[in-house]
Symmetry: C2
């Protein structure tokens, strides 16, 4: 997904194309992975130091509403953003070393079906963060690790 396509999509849906929006989309597309609002601002500032915080937050809110980006809350107090991708994928986040493992979206298919069948609930399982312990951090796991800020 190139940022020009997303820009076209934006305009098609009746939103204006501003330099700021272009820069924001460009940065999110380039930086493959998750970026916080702060990181996005920092990257834009390298080329254009005048980018404004509010504009970034407002644009991210818009892009998320249009499902062009996925906001994800990894439970550390700040939200990260990523270009909306197909097929979906999820993230295993180690609560000890903070390592992130990407997981194919298919693992959630059975659960999604179950929730739909049994609870008539249409789950947003397209971008999910699962907390736990990765392979390396498991042996020394047991004695009550320090609580991380906010886990889901």
């Amino acid at each position: 997904m190139h940022h020009t396509e997303l820009l076209a999509d934006l305009r098609q849906r009746g939103h204006r194309l501003t330099p700021q929006r272009e820069m924001i989309l460009n940065v999110i597309c380039e930086g493959n992975g998750h970026l916080t609002a702060d990181e996005i601002i920092a990257r834009i500032r390298k080329q254009y130091p005048y980018i404004n915080k509010s504009a970034v937050y407002r644009t991210l809110e818009l892009l998320a509403r249009l499902c062009l980006v996925n906001p994800t809350d990894f439970g550390d107090g700040k939200v990260t953003y990523e270009i909306h991708r197909h097929p979906h994928h999820h993230h295993l986040v180690c609560r000890q070393c903070r390592k992130m493992i990407e997981v194919d979206g298919a693992v959630f298919a059975p659960l999604e079906k179950l929730l739909r069948d049994e609870y008539a609930f249409a789950a947003d399982l397209d971008h999910f963060a699962i907390f736990g312990l990765c392979r390396k951090c498991q042996p020394a796991s047991s004695p009550a690790p320090t609580l991380r800020k906010r886990r889901a």
Copy 2:
């Protein structure tokens, strides 16, 4: 689970029993369901107006670390707390009407096994929030619903 048991557990693990801690545990036990720190404070204040915010936050952090309570981030900017229960359960949160449906922990068992087998990842799936649309809110679903603050 009665709050006196939890108090005993606290002392057994070398922590002091203070009136504040007793009140906090009592409120969390009574209020069946999820309470935010603010709600906990409000409820205590009805009987004892002098309860202190910091004490509550610090106690909640302690209780979470000892796995006596489960913190859950429903993505609205504040964490809720609930007595740790067996068997586990999860929550389906409607992103439109905010309704919460409780779901048996067993639905995650296959996923947990898969993550362990394929990724050697020990997932914390004991208390999970899944966002989506409930039965009632589904028909009118499609055209880009307003973005909720922070979803996982």
